[in-house]
């Protein structure tokens, strides 16, 4: 059944949505959307390095994204610049370096559009394996660090005081972020992966009243966005990655209506 490119795309997309759902909630709770964007931007460098040295794309993106995250943590401690300035610095310089390296690799034909916006329809069976195995590992680790991670999200000092070791947990979480970007880059692309993290979670925020509920709604929203997006891209012959994000946006808008109606009913 995985011989059909569309089925492959669907299975890949659903796999990614399962992971971006919970991670996206943490991105929103911890105000990390710009951080996620920075990691995504830096992944272009990872992709070009993968081509240069002929190594696995996901692996090299994971490597570069983790490195950028570690550099960020270091810079935050040693400079007096605010975090958003540092993030901008890292995002755009790594993107620029990535593009410069592409220039040197003129002997390879690059599908820049595919990199920037994803090409989910070109997903092969090996990619599926990476997404589902990688995704399962990410979810497992997330479950293991759930308690300390959530505690330090609510209040860092409280978590630290009561022995939750938030520093360690935050480092693990950063690597998980790099990992999800690494495995999903092929599907939605560098510029849109942040949308996949944020939009379903934002939609869930509109509907949920406790953290676990928000995560479940976020996952469901992501899955729906993938299905709706892919089918409509088939129907209207549009690019698949952007179609998925657009579908997610539509769901977000619908969730806003829901709130208004709900409030009116309450009155």
């Amino acid at each position: 059944m995985f011989d059909d490119f569309f089925i492959r795309a669907l299975v890949a997309g659903l796999g990614v949505a399962l992971v971006t759902g919970p991670l996206g909630c943490f991105v929103i709770w911890r105000r990390l959307s710009f951080f996620a964007g920075t990691l995504a931007h830096s992944s272009l460098l990872g992709v070009t390095l993968a081509f240069s040295f002929d190594i696995n794309i996901s692996f090299s993106v994971l490597l570069i994204s983790s490195a950028v995250a570690l550099i960020l943590l270091r810079l935050q401690k040693t400079t007096k610049l605010p975090s958003d300035a540092l993030l901008g610095l890292l995002a755009h310089s790594s993107l620029a370096i990535g593009l410069v390296v592409i220039g040197f690799l003129s002997y390879i034909r690059f599908d820049i559009m595919g990199l920037l916006f994803g090409d989910i329809l070109a997903v092969n069976k090996k990619d599926l394996l990476v997404i589902w195995v990688g995704g399962a590992i990410i979810l497992l680790v997330l479950k293991l660090i759930w308690k300390p991670l959530f505690a330090s999200t609510v209040n860092y000092e409280l978590a630290e005081a009561e022995g939750m070791k938030p520093e360690k947990t935050n480092a693990v979480f950063t690597i998980l972020m790099a990992a999800i970007i690494a495995i999903s880059i092929k599907m939605v692309g560098i510029l849109l992966i942040t949308g996949m993290l944020i939009i379903p979670a934002a939609m869930a925020r509109n509907l949920a009243n406790n953290p676990k509920q928000m995560i479940i709604i976020s996952i469901i929203g992501g899955l729906l966005a993938v299905v709706l997006g892919l089918y409509s891209s088939l129907e209207f012959n549009t690019a698949s990655g952007p179609s998925i994000i657009t579908a997610a946006l539509v769901l977000f808008i619908l969730s806003m209506f829901n709130i208004k109606k709900f409030k009116q009913l309450k009155k």
Binding site: W29, A151, V154, L158, A159, A161, E162, R205, A208
Partner: protein
């Protein structure tokens, strides 16, 4: 535990420097099982900082901190919950500990906010939130409680009740308490050991000793030293809400 005389946490000549300024310096103290140690002092004198040193929140400190327990309940002075996070009181209760439903209910009942269990944490009033914070800290049955102005914003009647609860819990669980409070009445009546801070330890000792210290009078004014005598009349009766005297058994 018996090896170190029931000490839960011990600070030896500790201090924190931030941006070339000492927040607090040269503080030594120890909290033992079943004992209440209180930090008093004016604003900015380093009370919360000292508590955070004891909790291990500050990493780069002078001196030495030794903790002999990991079961710690902390009520911070300030805590703000981000509106991006949907969280109910019951979610907050089991933040750092796995609790059964009963344990959550019991703790909330003790601080009088059981009815708020399913409310959104950010819709509570200041006093209600404070009660939830205390309930959360005691629900995990800690060895060490660190309470940073635990009853701020709580109504007068609740304040006394909560202090009594805190004392009761320290006796029942046998846990040690590090308390920060501006309420000198309570401090002097319920504490085993008082540290008077003003960037450093001004004076310390039993409440009796501290009140008589000239440095204490300098810091808090002459009236503060009369507190003990006012409060320490033998309480052999209680007052019912309408003012009649009820004799204690």
């Amino acid at each position: 535990m018996s090896l170190n005389n029931n000490i839960l946490v011990k600070l030896e000549n500790t201090g924190v420097m931030l941006d070339n300024k000492w927040l607090v310096k040269g503080v030594s103290l120890e909290v033992k099982k079943g004992k209440i140690v209180t930090l008093i002092g004016p604003n900015g004198s380093g009370k919360s900082t000292t508590a955070k040193i004891a909790l291990g929140i500050y990493k780069n400190i002078e001196g030495k901190v030794e903790k002999f327990t990991d079961k710690i309940g902390y009520v911070p002075q300030k805590i703000s919950i981000d509106w991006t996070l949907p969280i109910r009181v019951s979610d907050f209760m089991s933040l750092t500990e796995v609790l059964t439903n009963d344990e959550i209910n019991n703790a909330l009942k003790l601080t009088g906010v059981e009815h708020l269990k399913n409310n959104d944490l950010r819709n509570l009033s200041g006093g209600e939130f404070q009660r939830v914070l205390i309930a959360r800290a005691i629900s995990k049955k800690p060895d060490l409680l660190v309470l940073d102005e635990p009853v701020q914003g709580v109504d007068f009647k609740g304040e006394l009740a909560l202090y009594e609860l805190i004392k009761e819990i320290s006796e029942k669980l046998g846990c040690g308490i590090l308390l920060i409070s501006h309420d000198l009445h309570v401090v002097m009546s319920a504490t085993d050991h008082v540290l008077c801070l003003n960037g450093h330890v001004c004076c310390s000792g039993t409440p009796h000793a501290v009140v008589k210290d000239s440095k204490y009078k300098e810091l808090f004014g002459d009236r503060a030293s009369t507190i003990l005598s006012v409060y320490e009349h033998d309480h052999d009766h209680t007052h019912s809400p309408d003012g009649t005297i009820e004799t204690k058994k």
